[in-house]
């Protein structure tokens, strides 16, 4: 029987394993050094905040794996012998495979700051990071978060629930402005500040200062100001977790290089999820997309290939979602943060500063390009269809009601949005 080994039990690896099992009888082994059972990384924050317990993070009950004959192995793969098709564990155990799927995920970035390895300095990606955070925030009164991304704002929310003062340093002039257009970014900046977070725009970390015990005691920012703190959260993005694969025949760049079938340069070795880097990404998509959805889709597509139905990874229209404290965010299609001349933006914002939409469209053809929506839930399938059908902005605005996914009895804003759009057009 063919033995398919998957390294990594995150969403990519587990989705792949489940879909292989749906279509085949192959022997499946999933290896992880992080946790015994698959858990939802996206919900780590809720354990810290006391919304959920660890068990709630497991999407499948523990009996699920045995019942579906997916073998779970706890261990750390130190080295891979691709010629012999053999995995070498840190425990000196070995395991051979017929096909290997690398789904090793990400680690957080460190950019060589002075003091980045001190006690009390950490990122938040893994289960171990969460456990460390629990220790690091015992008797912690003040924290600094470096980097304005999704994990940064989640960490800020987490720390606020433990009554920890948070200073939040971001490089851009407003929160996540490398992804969000300026008006969206400014609204979220305002919202984060309204939660009592000391958000500092256009501020960068210079160095981290230790106390006499080798713990962090303060940081110094580029203006020279010193900020006292007991915890430094490094949230300046993630990079593929592939250090153990360097110096092998496996072709890597930032991540493990794969073709459209998610295959590496070595036969029978594949990579999916955060650690995979597409050699030829589709237009408008990045070579590495460290998001939950991409990992899941790669897992689905690769499972098809591995079970005899060779299938390229061709993600459809881009979509993503997040939550910034109380504001839910969804995006469909492409809305550039800094649009060029060809792309126009229509922005609508509610006066309470918690609801907004930004619609991007082609300046010449009026073709709808994408939407950012804040505080209003929208239907994925409707936007997916409109993008596939190359609809014009007028069509989108006139039919926005169809796309609404808010709960019953919610106030609707379509008319308001439409009116505002017409008025803007007149002005322009």
């Amino acid at each position: 029987m063919e033995h398919i080994v998957i390294i990594g039990n995150g969403i990519s690896g587990i989705t792949c394993a489940r879909h292989i099992r749906k279509n085949s009888d192959a022997k499946i082994t999933v290896i992880s050094a992080e946790s015994e059972y698959f858990f939802s990384r996206t919900a780590l924050m809720y354990v810290y905040m006391g919304h959920m317990k660890w068990n709630h993070l497991k999407p499948y009950e523990d009996w699920f794996w045995e019942k579906n004959r997916i073998e779970l192995k706890t261990g750390f793969v130190e080295k891979i012998d691709f010629e012999e098709k053999m995995l070498h564990f840190s425990s000196e155990e070995m395991m051979n495979y017929d096909k290997l799927v690398l789904a090793t995920g990400s680690v957080y970035n460190k950019f060589g700051w002075e003091g980045q390895d001190l006690k009390g300095v950490q990122g938040l990606v893994s289960k171990q990071d969460l456990e460390l955070l629990e220790k690091n925030t015992k008797n912690c009164k003040k924290a600094v978060i470096i980097g304005g991304g999704l994990i940064g704002v989640e960490l800020a929310e987490m720390l606020k629930t433990r009554n920890i003062e948070v200073t939040f340093l971001i490089r851009e002039e407003a929160f996540w402005h490398n992804v969000l257009p300026i008006q969206d970014a400014e609204m979220i900046s305002k919202h984060i500040k309204s939660h009592g977070v000391d958000l500092r725009e256009k501020t960068e970390l210079d160095k981290i200062v230790a106390n006499e015990n080798g713990r962090v005691k303060s940081i110094i920012i580029n203006s020279g100001e010193e900020i006292e703190c007991h915890l430094v959260g490094l949230c300046t993005g993630v990079r593929p977790n592939i250090d153990f694969l360097k110096n092998s025949h496996l072709e890597t760049d930032k991540g493990i290089l794969v073709d459209t079938f998610l295959q590496t340069n070595i036969k029978d070795v594949y990579a999916i999820g955060d650690c995979a880097q597409l050699k030829q990404p589709l237009s408008h998509r990045k070579p590495i997309e460290a998001v939950w959805y991409a990992g899941r889709m790669m897992g689905e597509a690769l499972a098809q290939t591995l079970t005899g139905n060779k299938m390229p990874y061709k993600p459809g229209n881009w979509f993503n979602s997040a939550k910034f404290f109380d504001i839910e965010y969804q995006t469909y299609g492409n809305v550039s943060a800094k649009p060029g001349d060809d792309e126009m933006h229509f922005h609508w914002q509610h006066k309470d500063n918690t609801k907004a939409i930004t619609i991007a469209f082609d300046a010449n053809s009026n073709k709808f390009l994408g939407i950012n929506t804040f505080g209003i839930r929208m239907r994925h399938s409707v936007f997916d269809q409109w993008l596939n059908e190359n609809r014009k902005i007028n069509h989108v605005l006139a039919n926005l009601k169809q796309a609404n996914f808010d709960p019953e009895f919610y106030t609707r804003y379509e008319k308001d949005i439409f009116k505002s759009f017409k008025e803007n057009l007149k002005k322009a």
């Binding site: 459809g316 109380d326 839910e328 994925h380």
Partner: protein
């Protein structure tokens, strides 16, 4: 795993700390409660009206001040911060204390009301006498233990309903639904029956429908209705219409939520006072299996009991009234068989194998009991009569299950234990919802991140995430449509919807987001 959680509960800066105002508010509420405790201890208050108002007023004020401090002045949006760190909501020490206290209260209430001061012959004493002024004011009669209970129950729904509304004030579905529950409890369940008594009419709450209201067809109730003239007949007729017409129509249109989370008092208490405990329900598949057997067994029990009670009420002679014992018995058997046949013919594809076996088993049980009853010739079921059966039902289900376990164990098993495992009304509505309703919870394309908030906060123990992460609609008979899964979802993935019956149960294997080829493949496969 346990190490991690251990750490968490020991953290120095747990979000569970009470503010000064919250401590003060708790104090005010406890003073009000203390007056009740004194009354239970048989302290005879001089001015009962004053002390009763003082007690209930302080309890209400304490809760309202507490809720205001907890939620107002903070951003709108649901905050379940520290729920699992708090002793009271995370199955800690105080949860057990509260659970045991509530349980003891129910035991005394149901079986030892004399300890509360109920005197069959003579004036009430204790806590019951404290409530006399209010009872006199509303119905013109002295209070009973049920009046005391009803008042406290209604008060709980009102003040904790207020707290619920503040907590979920960003969500209009939750706000409107809670107003509805508060209205039905205060108006229909509490005031209306008492006022009817003042007007010399039968005690009747139109929102309390058979089989939840299992007394509706007992002889004393039917006699009461029949002797009350037109009004009584209308009440009886409304009771029947509720079961066979109103309930199915509303459930077809909106799912069982119109009742379970908009009208019902048991649901009302669970949603308001029980809200801090909703996360405690068991989500395992094992619990689901138990649930389905237990709840349907209760339904069978109540059906058999009702048939037996009505049977013994009816006469033998067709000259007196066309509905004789025999006509009724065989009419019921025919109706149940027909119902079973219709479901099996038109909806069997939607039923799992074990559900079919269960349904067949239950039908056989009911029919054989009916036959046994008929052929034994003495009108008794297994050698004891319908009244004994009713007493047993009242003791086991009406009191022990719905009260003692259902509410007493809120802090341990979650708020909807009764609704989930025991309520026969929920079982009937659930069958209607599962098989003939436009209601479902839809999933938003591929946006689910499997975080598990929905499952954790489902009071009915449904593993919502299991469906959502597959992009599948959620069509479950137990869903009461409280809307909390949708409310706590951080990605806006879930929505309660009433739509066409077509395509209600879907299961696309591949999530939206992957390109069409993959979708086509799966769609072809499923054809």
């Amino acid at each position: 795993m346990s190490k991690l959680e251990h750490n968490m509960s020991l953290t120095a800066e747990a979000p569970a700390k009470l503010s000064t105002t919250q401590r003060l508010a708790s104090g005010i509420g406890l003073v009000g409660l203390f007056i009740l405790v004194l009354a239970v201890a048989n302290v005879n208050f001089p001015n009962k009206t004053l002390f009763l108002s003082l007690s209930l007023g302080l309890i209400a004020a304490g809760t309202i001040i507490f809720a205001n401090d907890l939620y107002l002045g903070k951003h709108e949006g649901i905050k379940n911060d520290g729920v699992w760190f708090k002793s009271l909501t995370g199955r800690g020490f105080w949860a057990w204390i509260l659970g045991i206290t509530l349980t003891l209260f129910y035991i005394v209430l149901y079986w030892y009301p004399q300890y509360l001061g109920l005197n069959a012959d003579g004036e009430n004493t204790g806590i019951i006498s404290l409530f006399d002024p209010l009872s006199q004011f509303i119905s013109g009669n002295p209070a009973s233990q049920w009046f005391v209970y009803g008042t406290l129950y209604t008060l709980a729904i009102l003040i904790f309903g207020y707290k619920f509304i503040l907590k979920y004030r960003n969500n209009r579905y939750e706000v409107i639904r809670t107003f509805s529950v508060m209205f039905f409890q205060l108006g229909f369940a509490f005031l209306l029956p008492e006022i009817l008594i003042r007007l010399n009419q039968p005690y009747y709450n139109p929102a309390n429908i058979w089989p939840l209201n299992y007394d509706l067809f007992t002889d004393y109730k039917i006699n009461e209705f029949l002797s009350a003239g037109n009004v009584g007949v209308i009440m009886l007729a409304f009771g029947l219409i509720s079961i066979f017409v109103i309930t199915p129509i509303l459930t077809y249109k909106y799912g069982k939520r119109w009742y379970c989370s908009w009208v019902c008092g048991c649901g009302g208490l669970a949603e308001t006072a029980g809200d801090p405990y909703r996360q405690l329900s068991n989500k395992s598949q094992y619990a689901w299996k138990i649930e389905r057997w237990v709840i349907h067994s209760v339904l069978v029990f109540v059906t058999v009991m009702t048939i037996a009670v009505l049977y013994s009420f009816l006469g033998d002679s067709a000259n007196d009234f066309w509905l004789t014992k025999d006509v009724f018995l065989w009419g019921t058997a025919g109706f149940l068989t027909l119902l079973f046949a219709v479901i099996m013919i038109f909806k069997r594809k939607e039923l799992a194998q074990d559900a079919k076996y269960g349904a067949i088993g239950y039908l056989v049980v009911i029919l054989s009991i009916i036959s046994l009853n008929y052929f034994s010739g003495n009108g008794n079921i297994f050698s004891f009569g319908g009244y004994q059966l009713r007493e047993w039902y009242g003791f086991l289900i009406g009191a022990a299950f719905s009260g003692v376990i259902g509410v007493g164990f809120y802090p341990i098993f979650g708020s909807r234990v009764w609704c989930r495992y025991g309520c026969p009304m929920a079982a009937i509505l659930g069958m209607q919802q599962r098989l003939f309703s436009r209601f479902r919870i839809t999933t938003n394309g591929g946006q689910c991140i499997s975080c598990g908030n929905c499952s954790t906060y489902c009071e009915m123990g449904i593993d919502v995430r299991a469906y959502a992460q597959k992009g599948e609609n959620i069509v479950r008979s137990s869903c009461v449509g409280c809307g909390i899964c949708s409310a706590v979802c951080p990605r806006g993935v879930l929505k309660l919807e009433n739509d066409d019956m077509d395509g209600r149960i879907n299961s696309e294997e591949v999530m939206l987001g992957n390109d069409v080829d993959l979708m086509d493949l799966v769609n072809q496969k499923s054809k």
